[in-house]
Symmetry: C2
């Protein structure tokens, strides 16, 4: 049974006790040609809880990991936070000792500006790699953002705009639901459009189960709630939610140096002790928010025309189901055929065949369905083309979103990937123009 | 010391005792809309040795493997062959029992038409997946090709044209060199433009060392020589040569169901017993032919504007060097930056960071050099940007071919990948047009 949650306005400021702001402080170096000026103008955001919150986080497993990630990992481990400062236009990645100093100064300056305890501010950055932050501008931005803080939906809008890079539109959500008799809110915002195939873990260390060899544009996600959730419980809940959402999307198969998801829970809903059913409800709500945000990233991926949910079942193990789904979701030939609306099962079975998953050609089923529908039009059954007409298959592969069902018929494990097509616009956008450095991405 | 070999005309018919032909028998279904009519008109080729030849072969490790590959593997194991029949326009892959019968009929019919012993003909196919061969046309083509056989360079030209699919130009070579006092020839031809990241082994079984998760358009390579090389020696020599050439190229990271390389050695040069030095010369010659053919595939890759030789050194192991090189060579963001001529080391170090290879950000060197030059312009040294100007780096990344040097500074292992950029033309070509099935690729 899938829980349906009521959406409400306000995103990250919908939960009680949270304020936010987003300002322009010229980190994007608009017009100077020195930075990345993609996306909208605002480039520094704050999210603040009026009281101490518990915190959980998930971080890129890229071995090249940005300074803000290195600052956050030990802070999140302590389990408490008050605020997050985020900038776009500069990833503060591959910036060496100066980058670490800048990230540390950024959180310290924010702590002073907000008058919150030392160690209670977290930080996220996204944008060009390998360039140090313009710290004078960052400090001016923090001061202005602290002044601008507020809890109207417009404040959330400013904050989400300030974390966008190549995103074409803001991505945010808020829902409300009952927990121990009280109304509780979960709000969230995220960014990301290219360099998208996150593989995050709690510590940035790479567990054996995470995918190698294909993940990247930074994705950042920030979630707030007025539920009261102990830090350890919150971390476990976030790990489960991210495993089913942000870690299951791919735009271009490149994993970023900066991928970060944070959740702050300030307990201001004032509910009592949670029952097992309440904890399950919170988990379902967090799963829902993370999945909706993750899907928004794929839909708004650089140059993306079509979003395909790749559903692999019948694999020998979950790991193999994941490997099969990622091989299909990241194949250049499969992705260009999606762009063309071509129901080309030859390219799909080819990708399955070179994946690390065990497959047997004579067992493979491949079919198409409308998003979420169980009515599947099979193009291949047990390795043999079905009698489905080419016109019918083309119609099934034509919508802007559809489900691709792959049954390996070798076991009972399954995995899902939310994937994007590969278009001329993606290439055009990412090749940039070397004569105009402002067009060059992270 | 690199041996320089003298190039001569004639390609696969340059060695004594070999004839070839290429004809059109409508496997490509030109104008009918029922097949793949990409590439030039000819679609069936023969290569024939006038006497028994030893043979060696390497085949796709894709778990979905085409009928012609399944026919060839046991035949090559026996070590002797007389001829190869090859068709384009139809891969005879994912065609079930009918496909196996068709491939078996194709070699049997060729054996009868050429009056050569049963079991002495090998077969290769390339083109659309999942469609059975038009066998009446194939038989007519074999008869005509048998009649047309000859040993002029024009015959080799017809043969190589007949194996092309999305290739924009023929790819062939012949060289001569001395072996045990006699002049010996090695000739070769190949095809391939997309679905290119071969990972071939002698049996099609996947050794642990081969890359997973990214390989595909079929590549086919056929090599002839009048040297006398025992089958086991020839197989070992081919395995070494392919490991350094065809298995080190990538256009789009997709491995095909049909990748095949065959070598026939008929001994007609009439040389005596080979010394160790002679065997080394033969190995060097075979390495040279395979590498030149492999590079031609990357240069002629679908939509390819730039070819980049990714040279990873200082890795902890050869496996890790390979993983690092493939991550960079197959990153959508790195490949689009190459297309743009953007010396974007941020995307390169990001790809290294998410690869399965161990890397330490503070140790990584990244630089550019003219093809084969040892004069490297470093953009990053030990993780820090150098003082090289952006203009100088752009100039280094501007040529149609250049070397990308990556030193991980963690060990002494190295690996090379011959890679291509990712362009709008690649996407345009591979998305096809569902309203015109003749535009849809394999």
């Amino acid at each position: 049974m899938k829980k349906v949650f009521k959406e409400i306005p306000g995103a990250v400021v919908a939960p009680r006790g949270f304020t936010a702001s987003g300002v322009f402080c010229d980190i994007k170096r608009l017009g100077t040609g020195k930075g990345s000026n993609k996306g909208p103008k605002r480039d520094l955001a704050l999210i603040v809880s009026e009281c101490a919150a518990t915190v959980a986080g998930m971080f890129t497993t890229n071995q090249v990991c940005a300074a803000p990630v290195k600052i956050c990992v030990p802070r999140v481990k302590k389990g408490a936070a008050r605020a997050v400062v985020i900038n776009s236009g500069n990833a503060n990645a591959c910036t060496g000792k100066q980058g670490m100093k800048d990230a540390a100064d950024m959180v310290l300056f924010t702590e002073l500006a907000l008058n919150v305890p030392r160690g209670s501010v977290l930080v996220g950055s996204t944008g060009r790699i390998g360039v140090t932050l313009p710290m004078d501008e960052v400090r001016a931005g923090i001061i202005e953002a602290a002044v601008e803080l507020g809890s109207t939906p417009a404040h959330a809008d400013h904050a989400v705009e300030a974390i966008m890079t190549s995103d074409s539109r803001p991505k945010q959500i808020a829902i409300e639901f009952k927990l121990a008799g009280k109304t509780v809110c979960l709000g969230g915002m995220c960014k990301g459009a290219g360099m998208i195939q996150p593989g995050m873990s709690a510590t940035g260390a790479r567990p054996a189960a995470l995918p190698h060899g294909g993940l990247h544009a930074t994705m950042l996600g920030f979630i707030t709630t007025d539920a009261a959730i102990p830090a350890k419980v919150l971390q476990a809940a976030l790990e489960q939610a991210v495993a089913q959402s942000f870690n299951r999307i791919t735009v271009d198969g490149d994993m970023s140096t900066n991928d970060t998801v944070l959740v702050l829970a300030n307990g201001m809903a004032g509910h009592g002790k949670l029952s097992a059913a309440d904890r399950a409800t919170f988990q379902a709500a967090l799963n829902h928010v993370c999945l909706e945000l993750a899907k928004k990233i794929v839909r708004d991926g650089e140059g993306v025309h079509r979003v395909v949910t790749v559903k692999v079942s019948g694999a020998k193990s979950v790991k193999e189901a994941d490997q099969a789904a990622r091989a299909v979701a990241n194949s250049a030939l499969v992705k260009t055929s999606w762009h063309g609306g071509d129901p080309n099962w030859g390219r799909i079975i080819d990708a399955l065949g070179y994946s690390a998953a065990t497959i047997v050609e004579e067992q493979v089923d491949i079919g198409y369905a409308a998003s979420g529908s169980k009515k599947i039009l099979w193009s291949l059954k047990r390795g043999q083309p079905t009698k489905a007409t080419y016109a019918a298959l083309c119609a099934a592969a034509a919508p802007k979103e559809f489900d691709l069902h792959i049954n390996l018929n070798l076991g009972s494990a399954s995995a899902v990937m939310y994937a994007a097509d590969l278009t001329e616009e993606y290439v055009e956008f990412n090749k940039g123009d070397v004569t105009d450095p402002t067009t060059l991405g992270g």
